[in-house]
């Protein structure tokens, strides 16, 4: 079949398309005189203009078939039947055209609804990342990826809380360094687990990760490329001079790395923005621009991964610089900090309404 079927036929331009297609339809038909193909080809064409010429040749072939089978029937009955067939075929084509147009409108509406839903979500309908009923829209895999992540993250936060309590008890109880080291290692490993989880869900929906909708509102306030700033880790008081120097260097490297990634993100924003805005605005079709922008957005996944990688490396370097006890205290401080941010979010969400002005 070589009749071109456009993916998207805007109704405003619809009036131009059929003429183009009629020409091709006509050529198609003339070149292959097979009656069977004409009825099975998808037609998005208003055939009113060329109806007669196409269907007469069609009818002549069908008529010859019919004639062979039922030679005894009177001619006028045949003519009547043929006229009815013509009419039925024309009506069917018109119905099909209307149906296809409806489908395309619905498709556009669906895309719009999905976008609105995404926006509503990001405005805090999912308070504290609690899983709420069904995730409407998107593909099944994206849904399940996000649903799985939210469940796992809920568990992650619980384990985190438990670990923090253990660390606090351990530090106050003055346990041995070896035992403390185990706690420190599992604490750091727990963060690495979070980065792994984020990497998986980022492949499913990178905007989900970057919007921070899975975190509480106060945490989101400090969000940098889908998580905390690596330099947040460096708010500790080291002891020795050597450590001061090392932490200072780490702070500087961390800052430079963050700045570089931030600038890369800015460039990405500019690129996507100019791609989406590109092309003539007075044309209805924006598909090429949007499609190109889609490709560029893929880079967002690598930025999210790189940011998490930076968090991971910074954590690891800190654990190298610090003693076990210092690292334990540092992890406790970090965990406690996020715990308090989460509490702040809950408090803020449930604060009494402002008294109305007189």
């Amino acid at each position: 079949m070589n009749s071109p079927t456009p993916q998207f036929v805007p109704s405003r331009l619809g009036i131009y398309e059929p003429i183009h297609q009629i020409g091709i339809w006509g050529e198609n038909f003339k070149s292959n005189g097979n009656p069977n193909t004409s009825t099975s080809v998808i037609v998005e064409v208003d055939n009113k203009l060329e109806n007669e010429s196409e269907t007469t040749s069609h009818e002549m072939l069908t008529a010859s078939n019919n004639y062979e089978q039922e030679a005894s029937k009177p001619i006028d009955k045949i003519q009547r039947r043929l006229a009815q067939n013509r009419e039925a075929a024309r009506k069917s084509r018109l119905r099909k055209k209307a149906y296809v147009q409806q489908l395309e409108n619905s498709r556009l509406k669906l895309i719009q609804l999905e976008q609105e839903l995404q926006r509503a979500r990001q405005q805090g309908l999912y308070m504290g990342g609690v899983l709420e009923g069904s995730h409407i829209g998107f593909s099944g895999t994206v849904n399940s990826g996000i649903a799985a992540f939210e469940m796992e993250y809920g568990r992650w936060v619980d384990v985190q809380h438990r670990q923090i309590c253990e660390l606090r008890t351990a530090l106050n109880a003055h346990i041995s360094d070896i035992e403390l080291r185990i706690l420190v290692e599992s604490g750091i490993g727990h963060y690495f687990e979070l980065f792994r989880m984020k990497s998986t869900v980022a492949k499913a929906d990178v905007f989900y990760v970057i919007s921070g909708v899975w975190k509480t509102s106060a945490e989101r306030f400090f969000s940098w490329i889908g998580g905390f700033r690596p330099s947040e880790l460096l708010k500790l008081d080291p002891l020795t001079e050597q450590q001061i120097l090392e932490v200072c260097n780490l702070k500087q490297s961390c800052q430079q790395a963050e700045d570089a990634l931030s600038q890369g993100m800015e460039k990405l924003q500019e690129t996507v923005s100019s791609t989406v805005a590109g092309g003539p605005v007075d044309e209805v079709s924006y598909i090429p621009q949007v499609a190109t922008a889609m490709e560029k957005l893929e880079a967002l996944v690598s930025f999210v991964n790189q940011a998490d990688h930076l968090r991971q490396e910074t954590l690891q370097q800190m654990s190298r610089i610090l003693t076990t006890r210092q690292a334990a205290r540092g992890l406790l401080a970090l965990g406690e900090y996020f715990h308090r941010l989460r509490a702040l979010s809950t408090l803020w969400a449930t604060r009494p309404p402002e008294p109305s002005l007189p």
């Binding site: 780490l250 600038q263 993100m265």
Partner: protein, 126 residues
């Protein structure tokens, strides 16, 4: 000194241009000609981040935009095979030695090994 972009070609006399040589050789040759070399793609934002990282440290990297080089595709493939298929631009060489993609560059900066390498290559002074 060489400047960014595809103007590097005009600074080399014809005899030194590696015409028709193996793309890997060309990569290695280009990598050893400057202290800091970044193989990049002009539309890649991660490459932009890499360039900003070095500039932010006061280093002036030599950048080869593979999409603007007629033999860039071959060189990109050679680099990918060198690093393993998961690695992609930006790819950084310091003092002629391969550092790797953005992952490795970031990791070595955080663990403190990047700055000594840069000083050794003469790209950074105290």
């Amino acid at each position: 000194m060489y400047c960014e972009g595809d103007s590097w070609g005009c600074y080399l006399p014809m005899s030194l241009r590696s015409m028709g040589s193996d793309p890997m050789e060309r990569v290695v040759k280009l990598a050893s000609e400057s202290a800091v070399v970044i193989f990049s793609v002009s539309s890649c934002c991660m490459c932009h981040a890499a360039k900003r990282l070095f500039c932010g440290m006061g280093v002036n990297p030599t950048v080869y935009e593979l999409d603007q080089d007629p033999r860039g595709k071959e060189m990109e493939m050679a680099l990918t095979t060198l690093l393993g298929n998961s690695q992609t631009v930006p790819i950084v060489f310091i003092g002629g030695k391969l550092i790797g993609a953005m992952d490795r560059v970031m990791a070595s900066h955080i663990n403190g090994s990047l700055v000594p390498l840069l000083k050794e290559a003469g790209a950074l002074w105290l």
